[in-house]
Symmetry: C2
Subunit: 403 residues, 2 copies
Amino acid sequence: MKKLILAGLVAAAATLATTAQENYSGAGNNSSVQIHPDNRVTLRFKAPEGHKVKAFATFAPGAWADLTYNDSIKAYEYTTPEPATNEFHTYKFFMDGVGFTDPDNVHTVRDVTWQNNFILPKGDGNDQASMMSVNNVPHGSLTDVWYYSPSEKCNRRMNVYLPAGYFSDKTKSYPVLYLLHGMGGDEDAWVMLGRAPQILDNLIAKGKAEPMIVVIPNGVIDVDAAAGKGTAGLVQPQSEFPRLFSGEYEMAFPEIVSFVDNNFRTIPDRAHRAVAGLSMGGYNSANISRQYPDLFDYVGLFSAATIESVTTGDMLKRFLPADKRNNPIFLDFDKKLKTQFAKNPKLYWIAIGTDDFLYDTNKNYRAKLDSLGLPYTYYETPGGHTWANWRDYLIRFTPQLFK
Amino acid sequence: MKKLILAGLVAAAATLATTAQENYSGAGNNSSVQIHPDNRVTLRFKAPEGHKVKAFATFAPGAWADLTYNDSIKAYEYTTPEPATNEFHTYKFFMDGVGFTDPDNVHTVRDVTWQNNFILPKGDGNDQASMMSVNNVPHGSLTDVWYYSPSEKCNRRMNVYLPAGYFSDKTKSYPVLYLLHGMGGDEDAWVMLGRAPQILDNLIAKGKAEPMIVVIPNGVIDVDAAAGKGTAGLVQPQSEFPRLFSGEYEMAFPEIVSFVDNNFRTIPDRAHRAVAGLSMGGYNSANISRQYPDLFDYVGLFSAATIESVTTGDMLKRFLPADKRNNPIFLDFDKKLKTQFAKNPKLYWIAIGTDDFLYDTNKNYRAKLDSLGLPYTYYETPGGHTWANWRDYLIRFTPQLFK
């Protein structure tokens, strides 16, 4: 038994037993996913011959690949015909129809209830891949903090990005971007899938964005934290909760701003606050900034759900039937919009992809703003309701803030 | 295509394609691992009939279980004959010899190069399971920060636990525990496997430990951060690096203390500093506290590698051949020990399990201290070189600090 334990000083003996007994899993050596100099990608999956092995991979044509057995390496293999685009890519393996993450790659990311592996091809220094990478620049800090929510009467978790220098210079104060996740997301989504800390580090280091604090709260008031991080324990994440879209989160949002202003060195005024979010978080951002017009000078709606999409859309309308629209957030809609815009927000930025299922309701929302004579900036991209777009929007929105 | 995207507002279309095409993976509903009220555990694995399905599981007798096909749920099943102990348990599945994490459970933890799922049985309020859980108590914050290392001439990542109240009361200063990982570990090991933030939250909330800052640096000076978190990108983690055990990390340790004292509200004196570590981190702790006797009043050696184990042990001696023992850290060993103890450290705590492969060299190290007349506290447990022991040692060591 002691001999076994010798194989790794900090590995628990129980874990070591895994490799001792089985041949086809265990320690990886970059053997399973290889990005070639030209950004083509090879996948390798170690298993006995005779299985049907596939990969779901965003870098493969059509997002699916068949791996073939290579007897010389005792593994199934696949190489993409073309280089991968310079984006954040995900993949997982399927053996005889059962899907799971790569046994030989520890780098995984959660998207709601799914876990996938991810890769980052090498970028050219300025593209999305480069902006998402950990480069040799000053790094900010990511801090998980818990605030007491008077409205929910419990502690709730949020993530806070503090820019490089926050802890060393104890006198400087910063503007704040509140960055909101979508339905199915939580306070970890912009961190893990959105790569917000890396994007902010790189934008600030290049002088493209002002040093700022980024607050990433949890917008699901039915829970206190992301699945596994809260008092509910190791529950499985869900995408739907009863009070999503109810307006209660938005009405209580000043308690989050108050906590942040009291706990971090912020510049606590409208000119130094922005709120932006993706999908449901865009809905939240529009609602919060309309209800509290003195809070935010900058608003970003990334592929936003609109009030129309929630009351009439095929997918969303179950969240807000007519008898659940009594929250103050929904009252005097046009009047509040006019009040908000009468204060001349420095930026009201709407971004969406042409394939997005929310494209039409966003078009209608822009038409409403146009009919009321309220000015906004519009940014349209290809693509749909995807993290590739939301990372792009963050990269484009953030440099416009606090100038 | 738009219909497909409707299935989840924030899930990328590409990910959704996974569930659309395959039946045996995707969203979990706690269907795959179930902890019964009496702490027995059921595992379920969805796959077609005809495969050989096993689980490696620390809660199963002998750590291995055979799952049998249950046609009524179209899944393989297994239930433990006895309740799981109130500890942090890990498991993974094997299908036809290929091992991977549970496709229906997103809660995974990395141990060096392995990824496993983990579960936490319900505790009785005071046991290890309870101390590792997220309870309804004031929570500290975990912050990843990067410090500039003059010795390595690069930025390096560390994790810092700041106790509850750190950000709200901007005047209070705190003592600091430096908590070091073992070989194969990094700055994330005490956070993920060690559950240090949860343990500190709970000990402090119960009044058992003083509020303190816990600094968890990266002890592998060959890299700047844990695999995937640093400038090397998404490399696979390794357990061995050329400069482990070389003494260079320990010699440069004052630069970490200096960074912490300059960036956080510490009480910057010996009476308010502790250093402790597991395995290689215990070796580091002994070396640092001996080399710099004015830095630490509290020292904890958890299953520590000793200088003897590194120069003579079967496994470790390749790291420190005779020609690599010229670092100042290794000179005047007994003289430095005497100098350290002449300053009457408040606690020099040695803990090890009777089955640990380092037990004999620890015994010899204690004999040396005895022969020199140097006082220490000794805590012996059952078990070996395991995280269950290291979490126990943290739970027992921390309440003795800064009283």
